[in-house]
């Protein structure tokens, strides 16, 4: 089963995503900040990571770097409210960049797209 890690500091939002993604048929793990996410990536094998940018303890960019240095190939989607905040590093390392909205359809579509691209390139 496809395993996804959702990294989001707002608990309510995080659980909402997890529920919705479980309904789509994915196996979902959750992390509340960058630091926990990095720990989880060390011990688990994920098919995809969904990463928020603004978080306490360790922010998304730092976490992104740490996750990638553990696993160069891991697919990552940046999911953030800051539509203008696109760092060069994120653009060139993340597989996709999605702006938060009340509707999760765009995120779900991107997840499918990224996973499909990955299985194609394999």
């Amino acid at each position: 089963m496809t395993k996804i890690l959702v990294v989001e500091d707002e608990q309510y939002q995080r659980e909402l995503y997890a529920l919705e993604l479980k309904d789509e048929g994915y196996d979902v793990d959750q992390a509340a900040n960058g630091k926990d996410a990095v720990e989880l990536v060390k011990t688990n094998k994920y098919d995809l990571v969904i990463l928020d940018i603004r978080m306490p303890e360790m922010d998304g960019i730092e976490a992104l770097g740490k996750i990638l240095s553990r696993d160069k190939k891991i697919p990552i989607i940046i999911y953030t409210a800051y539509s203008n905040y696109k760092s060069n590093f994120m653009t060139w390392t993340a597989d996709a960049y999605v702006t938060k909205s009340s509707n999760l359809d765009e995120l779900k579509n991107k997840i499918k797209e990224v996973l499909e691209n990955r299985s194609k390139s394999k």
Partner: protein, 619 residues
């Protein structure tokens, strides 16, 4: 958008403002840029995007994290992207550090766009070249094997050739001993001088030793009454190459002054590389006894025909019927003497009548004294033969004698050698091409280095070095286009060299270089030396001769007479101060080369500076 095959560049630079500026220059030059602000970021981005990144420009000093060389090392572990290092440092250790990694060059910061472009272009070329070299190394190894085969084939051929020439000498010796011992006076004249006399001929002339006659004019021994007629006969032999077989009665003058009546016939012959005639004589008085003459003729026939190791046939020219064959022919063809004598020559010669006619016409046209035929042997095989043919009278019958040489193996060996030589030539050209490319690369490196240098002396020294390297590069370029025989025509190389010098100095109308080169050929090794000498002397003139003049003219001439080659370089400038310049590296180089070539150099200050270098070329 792609430039020089590079479209996306990963720029690794920790100082944000510098990074911005560098990215801006790169973008304005038409590249797409990804930026990384630390070594770690660079490794991660390269890890994610290595398929689309064409090149990495890597700062060496990257602040707190891993440095550029370490980042490069990590990146090269998992992918193969050309990396060019950027730094404001020029310390040797740092440069050395980058050299340990697969490096594609090194740029000092604050680069002007042209340096950047050249470096990127070169790094990319180098990268492609490295890839290609890897592939072509295998091909080269194979070529080497072929070359070895060529060499061993050549050696084999040489050994065979030596063996053949030994055999030839042997048969020559045998021929001499036969003729020498023949009871008929026989002598050979070339250029109307005695070149050879057999024993009987010496006796006829009343000489004891060869030295008394060899090299002497034959006409001294012919009675003056016959000189006109003899001249006619010699003319016929020399010019038409046809024998004079009608017996010519005349008197020889012996060394003691007495006269002796003889009858002579002559055949054209090539002796010691010269054309001449072999003359058979017989004393008329002594030959009055017919029985003796017949006996003499038979023993003559036996010694020339029966005992000869060359394959010989006697043929009736009318019917083509073979009249006789010698033991050597029996061995060669594999039929018995009786079998051969029942055959016609057309049963042995496999060419059609038309082909035979064509070959005979060709032989006349090429002034060959032999024909190329294909002869059939008893075992059914067909051999390529050279046939030497001429008329002969045996026991009153007019026949045609044919001496047959088997040249099948020689032809096969010649073909093989031709093919191998052609292959060798291709390999040599390829090597020249590569050398040329390498020299050009070196030259670009020197140019880069020169452009980056702030010290005018260093700058100039590097430009000069570059000029020298380029002059050799041009030579190799010409070599890779020309037929390889170790020599080259002067006007194939020097015009390009002069053009190159003109461009290198950016000469406008103020200095005119006039050059005249003839078509003479020089060994490529000498050509190298001359190329550098011309480069140095012309550069010197450009730099020093016209400092107080507005317009100048430099003349370069290379020409040759029968013995020597001459190189003239002169200018109409202010002339050289003896003390100055001569100590420079350029002039030292010239003097060394002049010495090496065993040439003579003259310098004069008349109306400017004039150099004349003359030398005897190696053969």
């Amino acid at each position: 958008m792609s430039k020089y095959g590079v479209s996306l560049i990963l720029l690794v630079e920790d100082e944000a403002i510098i990074a911005m500026e560098e990215a801006m220059i790169l973008r304005s030059e038409g590249y797409e840029v990804v930026q990384a602000f630390s070594g770690e970021e660079a490794v991660l981005i390269a890890g994610r995007r290595n398929a689309s990144i064409d090149m990495i420009l890597m700062d060496i000093d990257l602040g707190s994290g891993i440095d550029g060389t370490e980042a490069a090392r990590q990146i090269l572990e998992f992918c193969d992207i050309p990396i060019v290092f950027l730094s404001s440092h020029t310390e040797k250790e740092i440069v050395d550090k980058t050299e340990k990694i697969t490096s594609y060059g090194y740029i000092v910061k604050n680069f002007p766009p042209i340096i950047l472009n050249t470096s990127i272009k070169m790094a990319h070329k180098l990268y492609l070249e490295k890839k290609r070299v890897k592939e072509s190394n295998d091909a080269l190894a194979e070529m080497n094997e072929n070359l070895k085969a060529v060499n061993s084939e050549l050696i084999k051929w040489r050994l065979e050739e030596e063996k053949r020439s030994k055999e030839l000498r042997e048969s020559d010796r045998r021929f001499r001993s036969i003729v020498e011992g023949a009871p008929v006076p026989i002598f050979i004249q070339t250029d109307k001088k005695f070149a050879f006399l057999n024993h009987t001929a010496l006796k006829l002339f009343g000489a004891v030793d060869h030295a008394e006659l060899i090299g002497k004019n034959v006409f001294e021994r012919f009675h003056p009454d016959y000189h006109d007629k003899i001249n006619e006969r010699i003319k016929k032999i020399n010019e038409k190459g046809s024998p004079v077989r009608d017996f010519f009665k005349q008197r020889f003058i012996r060394l003691d002054g007495s006269e002796v009546w003889v009858e002579t016939v002559g055949e054209p012959v090539e002796y010691e590389g010269k054309k001449g005639a072999i003359v058979f004589a017989r004393e008329i008085a002594a030959a009055s006894n017919a029985g003796d003459a017949l006996l003499a003729e038979e023993s003559h026939y036996d010694s020339l025909f029966e005992n000869n190791h060359a394959v010989m046939l006697l043929i009736d020219p009318e019917s083509g019927q073979i009249y006789d064959s010698n033991p050597a022919a029996v061995r060669f063809y594999g039929w018995t003497r009786e079998e051969i004598c029942r055959m016609k020559i057309s049963e042995i010669n496999t060419l059609s009548i038309e082909e035979i006619k064509a070959e005979m016409n060709l032989a006349v046209k090429l002034k060959r004294n032999h024909f190329h035929f294909k002869h059939r042997l008893a075992d059914g095989s067909v051999r390529n033969v050279e046939v030497y043919s001429g008329p002969i009278t045996v026991k009153g019958k007019h026949l045609l004698y044919s001496i047959v040489y088997d040249i099948t193996e020689r032809l096969a060996a010649e073909d093989k050698i031709k093919a191998l030589l052609a292959e060798k030539e291709i390999i040599v050209k390829e090597v020249h091409h590569r050398v040329k490319n390498n020299l050009n690369t070196i030259c670009s490196f020197l140019n880069l280095q020169s452009a980056k240098s702030t010290n005018p002396e260093t700058h100039e020294a590097l430009s000069e070095a570059c000029g020298r390297v380029r002059s050799m590069g041009i030579l190799y370029e010409r070599l890779s286009f020309s037929e390889y025989d170790g020599k080259m025509r002067v006007n194939e190389y020097f015009p390009a060299l002069i053009r190159n010098i003109t461009e290198a100095f950016g000469l406008g109308e103020e200095i005119l270089i006039e050059s005249v080169f003839d078509e003479s050929e020089i060994k490529t090794k000498t050509m190298f030396s001359l190329g550098i000498i011309v480069t140095e002397l012309v550069s010197n003139s450009i730099k020093y001769a016209f400092s107080d003049k507005k317009y100048g003219k430099i003349t370069v001439r290379i020409y040759s007479d029968k013995e020597k080659f001459y190189l003239l370089v002169s200018d109409n400038g202010s002339g050289i101060d003896e003390a100055e310049n001569v100590s420079g590296l350029g002039m030292r180089l010239v003097e060394m080369l002049v010495q090496q070539m065993d040439a003579k150099m003259k310098r004069s200050n008349e109306g400017g500076t004039n150099y004349e270098i003359s030398f005897v070329p190696e053969p």
